[in-house]
Symmetry: C2
Subunit: 371 residues, 2 copies
């Protein structure tokens, strides 16, 4: 990956967005907010109508004579390649990008589907890292990509001008462009996105028969691990299928570790069993510590403070206002649940150098600083 | 599990706490705050000294003639049973509880270690669901158990008076007592605590060799799934060993699902492969939806609103103050990260009936409501 260049160019338009779900409609809204002309097209007339109604662009209608600068294929992975190939043929003056969350399979699909190899110069695969659990144009927003990474994955034949155009799309929508080969992109998302997704689903699927009173004892650990298990199965089946080769290699490693762990648990008093368990946990420690924090800061670079708050309107606002008065910036914040009680804990992350001072000041103001 | 009875009785003391780490010292602090006399004992003189210094109790010193009402064994699972059995012999007038996070193995250990079977009438296994990643008496607080579940697991021979005493401990510390058999407790924690812990570690351990620029693309999904992978390996080896039989049975099911998934990924175009993947994801959806929310409310009972906030001091406080002015209670709150950008999203959960009104009011006040 090399940092993408910011050459100051912007899209002039018009832009055609094919597929007007959450991402396509959000792209339309963002470009319209910059004054770029946007035409919309979706295989579902009602989805397209909603996107038009919220102001994401005008309906494409009769395309004869229409000459977009850029076509954005915002369709699911299954159909992205065919739609991109069609767009390359239909709009010979346009750069065509897709935004599917797998890149090698889509590139291969476009290569197989284009009528003329020279068309590939105008194609660039991209992936904005801004997916959410919700879907559809109703959830769209011009700000969806603000501050989020947008990976550009030029193919071997993508022209520099086409890549600049794709980059301008990302920059115009407030995203942070980054470049990777399709191969590296797919390896990366298999690890940082597809692996946690499937293991979260594996944990959550075990809860089908758990009595409700047992689930009532669940803490934030279980909630955190299973949160993304709520994601849309239809979309994920397409993603997993399209990146199967990369993901399955990682899952072989997981299976090996799981078998090792099962072996130790089948005979926990065997020689080496505890050492094996400890190694597995320690490897988890080491991997977790490598994940960077907010704004790309080094992992673990903020200190945590836990404060008891009553669950009445305005309590958290009051806490944060007082932290602001003390002059400390809140880098991250999380509420902890207290099942059965109208009380909670606010976990506040701040720069380590201010933590103790903040704890003292808050205690002096009557807050219960728990940790 | 049956709801525990609140019979209004409180501990009179004195209470002896054996083991003065995070949990033991927090119990001491909480009881001292209620005016109960607390004596402390730890195998490590320095750990005990810190607990005494922070006000968790006095050093036990010469125990001859000391007659506690209750002995709390707050030692790791490995040694809890032996310490409980000793305490039952040493303090013939005392109820003895332990607070280890596994219960069948500790009960069996106590049964095997007591010098007189009649002693078991005075023993009750318990488990406060209030563990944290941090440890040691320095992190202790009188409020650690406030609002958290505290499971009481009487053995077959525990006397009603001993159970009432254990329950008084939980209630006096502000916890919410619940009752389960040791067997049911261990099955429950295997599923809601030990399973997510080991799978979180399995995911995180895959990140050891990932390039930093790939990890920089990580979103909240990976962060959520791997957060608890930061936990202490030494403690977890004891927990997993002591609950190995229950956990391994759940892991057999996980392995079966993992093998099924691997099979579909090895040949994603095979008949039924996509259906198998979709089923796995849908089972995850169903399990995740069963986890109750804050205050034991039904899962999914709050509506989410995402608001763009600049990362400057006081911005989140201002947002929450204005939400308070609008008169809506924030049920949960989370900050989303924006790698490379000084901007973030605040995800705010509110009762569904107020969501749209709140979104309109905030937009009217100049906030960018993203979703």
């Amino acid at each position: 990956m090399e940092p993408a260049r910011d050459n100051g160019t912007h899209l002039a338009g018009p832009v055609l967005v094919i597929g007007t779900g959450l991402l396509g409609a959000s792209i339309g809204l963002g470009l319209r907010a910059r004054g770029v002309e946007v035409a919309l097209s979706d295989i579902s007339p009602s989805t397209q109508a909603v996107a038009v109604d919220i102001g994401a662009g005008r309906p494409l209608g009769d395309a004869s004579g229409f000459a977009p600068e850029l076509v954005v294929v915002a369709a699911p992975p299954d159909v992205a390649a065919v739609l991109a190939a069609s767009a390359l043929a239909d709009y010979p003056g346009a750069v065509v990008v897709d935004i599917a969350s797998v890149k090698s399979a889509v590139l291969q699909g476009v290569e197989a589907a284009v009528s003329e190899p020279v068309f590939l110069e105008r194609y660039v695969g991209t992936h904005p890292m801004a997916g959410r659990e919700r879907s559809g144009p109703v959830a769209a927003t011009a700000e969806l990509f603000t501050g989020m990474p947008w990976v550009l994955c030029p193919g071997p034949t993508s022209s520099p001008a086409a890549v600049r155009c794709a980059e301008a799309l990302a920059v115009d929508l407030g995203a942070v462009p980054a470049r990777m080969s399709p191969e590296e992109h797919d390896e990366t998302v298999a690890l940082i996105s597809h692996l946690p997704q499937v293991l979260s689903s594996l944990v959550a699927s075990r809860l089908a028969d758990t009595p409700a009173h047992s689930l009532a004892l669940a803490g934030n650990g279980l909630r955190d691990v299973t949160r993304i298990a709520a994601s849309d199965p239809r979309l994920w089946v397409q993603i997993l299928s399209a990146n199967a080769e990369k993901l399955v290699r990682i899952l072989y490693g997981v299976r090996e570790d799981l078998n090792r762990l099962i072996g130790t648990l089948e005979n926990p008093v065997a020689a080496g069993a505890r050492l094996d368990m400890a190694q597995l946990m320690a490897e988890g420690n080491a991997g977790q510590a490598r994940i960077p924090g907010k704004h790309g800061t080094p992992p673990g670079s903020f200190a945590r403070l836990t404060v008891l708050v009553e669950d009445v309107p305005g309590q958290i606002a009051r806490l944060l206002t007082e932290i602001g008065d003390i002059g400390v910036n809140v880098e991250d914040l999380r509420l902890e649940h207290s099942p059965g009680r109208q009380v909670g804990m606010a976990e506040v992350w701040v720069v380590p150098g201010r933590r103790n001072e903040l704890a003292e000041s808050l205690t002096g103001r009557g807050w219960k600083v728990v940790q």
